[in-house]
Symmetry: C2
Subunit: 123 residues, 2 copies
């Protein structure tokens, strides 16, 4: 079976996460081989947390799980794209997407919707 | 001005590239600070090629430039999302998107359109 080349990124590959229903890019996270296999096995997006150095089932704390609807792999086999059904907010700040700030000449604008107060989710 | 934190990724951050017109994710590339500033200055997506170890104006060989329409930055400030107007194919294999292969249980399907023969573009 076609599998990402984890060696290229020293064991980790970036996974782009896109909303299956409307194409919005929600976040980018990293996967090691264990996270990759777990994602395939469970159908729930699972990553490797670089800050916590541990396997991270997205939503295990917040309840904001990602059900994987489609996986595509890039030409170099060192990046994957997950199309997911996102429950709640993808971003730990409470915004729907982690990419909630637009940079234009000299200023920053908020372009995503804040769905939840993170203090209500991460206790 | 809000700028990505290049230090976190040892000088490089991932840039997700999305088609401005239809939301299709086209590719992922890397930027160092020079590439970031060049992109802002010129409005043409410019990356750092990890394989060639040099600044890479996307399209300089193929003619398949990317005109940047919007830049958003993620919560951790270590990933950017570019919405671009893509001329021709984003992928060096000739496909519109680098993510042209869908992985399903045990098999791989082609899900993007091959626009050009790479031999006609990279001479």
């Amino acid at each position: 079976m076609l599998e990402p080349n984890f060696e290229k990124g020293k064991g980790l590959i970036p996974a782009i996460v896109q909303d299956y229903s409307n194409g919005e890019v929600l976040m980018l996270a990293y996967m090691n081989r264990e996270a990759w296999l777990k994602t395939l096995e469970t159908g729930k997006a699972t990553y490797w947390s670089r800050s916590r150095n541990s396997l991270w089932i997205k939503g295990e704390t917040s309840g904001h799980f990602q059900v994987v609807k489609e996986i595509t792999i890039d030409c170099d086999e060192d990046t994957v794209l997950l199309k997911v059904e996102q429950t709640g907010a993808a971003c730990h700040t409470g915004y729907r997407s982690c990419f909630y700030r637009r940079i234009t000449a000299g200023k920053v604008e908020i372009v995503s919707e804040r769905l939840v107060n993170p203090e209500d989710v991460y206790k």
